[in-house]
Symmetry: C2
Subunit: 228 residues, 2 copies
Amino acid sequence: MDTRPAPSLDDPVYRESVVDVLGLITYGELTFFERLAADCAMAPRLVDKAALATNACSEFRHFQQLCAYLEDLGVAPEEVMQPYVTRFDAWHESTAPSTWQEGLMKAYVGDSIAADFYREIAEFLDERTRALIVEVLADTGQEFVRTRLLEVIAADPPLGGRLALWGRRLMGEALSQAQVVAAERGALAGLFIGTDERPGVGLDVLIDIFGRLQKRHSERMAALGLDA
Amino acid sequence: MDTRPAPSLDDPVYRESVVDVLGLITYGELTFFERLAADCAMAPRLVDKAALATNACSEFRHFQQLCAYLEDLGVAPEEVMQPYVTRFDAWHESTAPSTWQEGLMKAYVGDSIAADFYREIAEFLDERTRALIVEVLADTGQEFVRTRLLEVIAADPPLGGRLALWGRRLMGEALSQAQVVAAERGALAGLFIGTDERPGVGLDVLIDIFGRLQKRHSERMAALGLDA
């Protein structure tokens, strides 16, 4: 059980960690917007385009909510996002979908891993910040994405095998970028490792989190009838 | 002066023309969303990304309003958009921006020509349809686009000359696609040419409209200090 004092935004060390976490999530939402919009451009049917664009704009609305919160904390969103640009862009470049089905799979796997990770981190944050993170992650349009994936796999079973491999690659690349981010970003790592004044939650907790991310990823792949 | 009876959605011939016009505008908004989102992905600064994504989502909101109106008229938006897919996609392919400044210019020139054209057509439509078209064209974020273009040209004057040429090409390609659309789409052309029961507004009016589109395009280029 966590017996440490409740985190407060008045604590400058904690506040720095929060801002760092929010920089990560905020830039993540912007890149998800860009990626879903690119999927929309690749989609063959007009109804798919409309659904993907709806999801994209929903991600962008979350981005705007997060920016407003950061401004409220007195920080410029673009400054706290900047440290994450290289990592996210590297992930998106290393996992650029070559077909619209791969794009769908990336939306399904990538957005979900990110959302799971943010929700896990939110557990260690103050109530106000946690409530915002949970709110912005609530409506990500995953229902449409899963339904369409089931349809495209049913229509072309060998595609399922290729998408299973692709899902594994997406997960692997996400974990390796996450490790680099954790190593690069002291304030973010500080949440787990802690400082002299404020002990962190512990690296064992971080290991548990990654275990749960992997488990939920496997469940999502199983929901498509695929192996993780 | 137009002495013809006021157009009514109860007239099936007129209604067909309206649905055809709305199919054009609705698909146009969807492609503008896709294109602005692609510009967002190309933009170098995070503040530019945020501004372009805001514009993109605003276009998509317009798209949703138009779809709702079409559904209200009892037609499936994807069906009335379908005939315009090839033409719009051809325009976007023939004018794919190779830099983010070319993308900005395309947003400035292309969206404005389209908006001017739609507003001109709206003048011949029933009040309810006209009000919707005018409303969805109201907030297109052109202020940001013009301001950034002035900044990028001021920072790199030779770029202005290249963007002037690019603007001319965008206008030329838009006019040639518009002519093909007019020839292909009988119901749309019917608004101008008319039928036995309902005379059109006349081809001379159409020529005047294209003259005004060209004039406003020249004014917009002049506002950037460029020749049209």
